[in-house]
């Protein structure tokens, strides 16, 4: 958990560098990422070979922006379970299963990498400001901003709950036991609901 918080900070710190890619106007980076993701997603389900040149985009950008490959790959792992589920389903149900499965995995890699590179080279406030300027509906921008802001708070809350749990767990394990997972997560959801209500109250107080 502590590691997750640190990685979140690392990703933010990366955005503060000053390479050629970091200095590009945020709107350019945002539009490029969007076009790239749409192009990758729009290609057919067996387009593995057509997709291979697209790998150049993350490689070149990461080299120019001097981003650490390991950190971004770790972040990429979050999307992996979903992609693996799709890939395994293709292997079972699709006549050209292997090709379809490889295409799904590659598409996931490319799209998530493009998004991660955008976040690692552009300060988040710049992204939301650009979205607002591009006339993206306010509700989407605010939702995105709130999500981004509270990921860290939620992680810290979960971290302190876990510390409190471990201090009184009496065992030497470093993780939660499965039998306590339900009440732990339930408590976290309840706390999040409470917090969401207080945040909404704070927003209403300020004219939202």
């Amino acid at each position: 958990m502590h590691k997750a918080i640190r990685e979140l900070h690392q990703l933010e710190n990366l955005a503060a560098k000053g390479t050629v890619i970091h200095r590009l106007p945020p709107a350019v980076k945002l539009v490029c990422t969007l076009v790239y993701v749409i192009a990758v997603a729009a290609l057919g389900r067996y387009s593995f070979y057509v997709l291979t040149p697209f790998v150049l985009y993350p490689c070149i950008l990461m080299a120019l922006a001097e981003l650490p490959y390991a950190l971004l790959l770790k972040r990429l792992a979050i999307a992996l379970p979903f992609a693996l589920f799709g890939a395994v389903s293709s292997l079972i149900f699709d006549p050209h299963g292997v090709l379809a499965a490889l295409t799904i995995l590659l598409k996931t890699y490319l799209c998530v990498m493009a998004a991660l590179i955008l976040v690692a080279t552009t300060c988040f406030t710049e992204i939301s400001r650009t979205l607002r300027r591009m006339r993206v509906p306010k509700i989407f921008v605010v939702t995105l901003e709130l999500t981004y802001r509270y990921i860290g708070v939620l992680l810290e809350e979960a971290h302190s709950m876990r510390t409190a749990y471990l201090l009184r767990s009496g065992t030497k394990t470093r993780n939660l036991e499965m039998m306590h997972m339900g009440s732990f997560l339930g408590q976290l959801v309840l706390r999040s609901f409470d917090r969401a209500e207080r945040i909404y109250a704070a927003m209403k107080c300020r004219g939202y």
Partner: protein, 231 residues
């Protein structure tokens, strides 16, 4: 003037938390709201901000009544500072957070940056403008939360436990700051010596009712403390 007359508030399950609360708060006056845990201090502040519905009585701020039709105009004169700054600082950067309220009030975009800058400077925290709330200390977060409310230029500030999470130095600085700010303030606190530093009047909330205990002299506060402790 903030007038509160016979205000009653009930929770959705029917529990009556405030029963006929009445008091007035003048402009430039600081009043402390003291009460035991669960006495309803936060509920009173939330209902005076129009967040928690009232079940009886009425309130008005600068002549505008608290009611469904006038809620927008009423809220312009009331600024609520939450107990936990993490609830109040919900945008990715301090600048964006302070700009949130004025933008909702329709302040033109060209005036936003100078307004945010002015507010930050008045609290001595201009260097925090581009920072993320995630990386601030408790004292810095408290000042930023106050700034988000001050940027809307309210006539009255309602502060919920402003000394929570603060070290003695930050607490001392906050007291000085609250004494300098021109708004009328209702400060809900358990910190009796902070009440003495900042307020000219003490209101005790107990059994759903508010009683005025006058100036926070040493005698008044020690009597109050004995009453709260229960002997």
């Amino acid at each position: 003037m903030l007038n509160v007359n016979n205000l009653s508030v009930s929770y959705p399950d029917g529990t009556e938390v405030l029963r006929g609360v009445s008091f007035t708060l003048k402009r430039r006056e600081n009043a402390a709201l003291i009460g035991a845990n669960g006495a309803g201090k936060t509920s009173l502040l939330l209902s005076l901000s129009g967040i928690l519905g009232i079940s009886g009585g009425n309130a008005d701020a600068c002549g505008v009544a608290l009611g469904k039709q006038t809620l927008g105009e009423y809220r312009r004169s009331i600024g609520l500072v939450f107990q936990n700054p993490d609830d109040q600082l919900f945008m990715p950067s301090i600048f964006e957070d302070i700009a949130f309220g004025p933008r909702n009030l329709g302040v033109p975009e060209a005036e936003i940056a100078p307004l945010v800058q002015r507010t930050l400077e008045s609290l001595g925290i201009a260097h925090l403008s581009a920072r993320s709330p995630l990386k601030l200390s408790g004292g810095e977060k408290r000042l930023c939360a106050l700034a988000t409310t001050l940027a809307m230029e309210p006539e009255f500030l309602l502060l919920d436990e402003p000394t929570a999470f603060l070290d003695p130095k930050a607490r001392h600085n906050l007291a000085g700051l609250l004494n300098r700010l021109p708004q009328g303030k209702l400060i809900a606190t358990h910190d009796l010596s902070f009440a003495r530093l900042t307020c000219s009047r003490v209101l005790l909330l107990s059994d759903g009712e508010v009683s005025d205990r006058g100036a926070p002299t040493e005698a008044t506060l020690s009597a109050l403390e004995r009453e709260l402790v229960g002997n």
